[in-house]
Symmetry: C2
Subunit: 242 residues, 2 copies
């Protein structure tokens, strides 16, 4: 018991050097094990090989640690969404689909981050930096929707990009939370979560007038002449476009 601690101490010296980081990692591991409600400050300290009083040098309390985990989660989430979006290459719809897959992949590969971010009960506006991180992640989706909105075939009603972004977010979030999460609470599905979401998004896009039986052609969206004529008159359920 104690010799183990002594040894660890001997290895690293009196000062840990990187305790804040180590505590974040420890918390992440504990959340993965027991859920966001089930990890304790003391536990995190123990996992980092440090006395129970040490964390107080870096975090006011358990909540601040939890919210730091969530914040880092949003940062990584944003990075992965940005990479997946890849500025809309090779074409907007393809990149959009990739964005959805990235959402699911995050929920699957990082269940601890995911639950800290979305299911820990933390109010998003707890801290301004947390909120900002969350908004930057959403910003990636928002920007993608912006591009997509600009491509809505002429003659079709053009819903606000913000609304399209929210629609996409809720679809991805719904599928991820119910069927793609990387923990016990995942529900069984007669198909892959990726396929489910892809079909959902494609039907939705078709509802906006995009031809989606196959992807729009070649590189970078030649402002896509739609293959089929607009199916419905231009007054959408969201009211008249401004």
């Amino acid at each position: 018991m104690s010799w183990r601690k002594e040894q660890r101490r001997a290895e690293r010296g009196y000062h840990h050097g990187n305790l804040k980081e180590a505590l974040l990692q420890a918390a992440l591991g504990l959340i993965a094990e027991k859920g966001p409600g089930g990890f304790t400050f003391a536990d995190a300290a123990r996992m980092a090989g440090v006395s129970p009083a040490a964390p107080y040098r870096h975090f006011r309390d358990r909540d601040e640690l939890l919210s730091s985990v969530a914040q880092r989660g949003f940062e990584q989430f944003e990075a992965q969404l940005t990479a997946a979006w890849d500025d809309g290459r090779p074409d907007t719809v393809t990149a959009f689909e990739r964005l959805g897959k990235a959402y699911l992949a995050f929920a699957h590969n990082e269940p601890a981050f995911y639950s800290a971010m979305f299911e820990s009960g933390l109010p998003v506006d707890l801290s301004p930096t947390l909120q900002a991180a969350s908004e930057r992640a959403f910003g990636v989706i928002r920007a993608a929707a912006e591009r997509l909105a600009a491509m809505v075939p002429p003659g079709m009603p053009r819903p606000p990009a913000m609304m399209m972004a929210l629609h996409f977010w809720s679809m991805s979030h719904g599928v991820a939370s119910l069927f793609a999460r990387g923990d016990q609470a995942r529900r069984k599905l007669p198909m892959s979560a990726e396929d489910l979401l892809e079909a959902e998004v494609l039907i939705y896009l078709r509802g906006l007038g995009f031809p989606t039986d196959r992807r729009p052609p070649g590189p970078n969206d030649p402002s896509a002449k739609p293959a089929a004529p607009p199916p419905v008159p231009p007054a959408g359920p969201w009211g008249t476009p401004k």
Copy 2:
């Protein structure tokens, strides 16, 4: 302090009479206050005005109580969805929209149930009765999708009803979890969650070939001749219909 307990005891006698029920209610209240991770067995006993050992007569442990709450949640959820669906009256699309609103209303009005059901980390297949309750609730959505699938305009690809049900579920769940929940974790929105979901569902339905600029006419779906011709060729992203 103690006189209070004495008094309560005097009122109800030695036997509580309805302790199991009282504990469920207490747990529900505590979950609403502190989240599913934050309620304790002892706390529930205290709120029910009973000694800390009493709950063991009715629940093996904390988890069994939590899962009972979730189960009851699914039962009430099912009842409310069933009522909202109202067997597809006055027409399928209208009833479908009402179903979505009921989903959001439940998340908003019953945040404690909602988080016990979806965010407590309980595996759905923890107990067979829990799983069955969850499946009965989903069954309402499934049946509605079944009806909707039968109405897909001729000439349009007909996705499996199961998939449509899952799509609807994930949309509703996404919007509910992010924007309609009745607790602190709800995100702010530039519009109502109801409107957001309604628009989302309508665009989706249009993607399936439904005319949705206004509702299909008349009582009980006269097998709706669509106003507009099928917008896209009949091969959906879900493969060929069987």
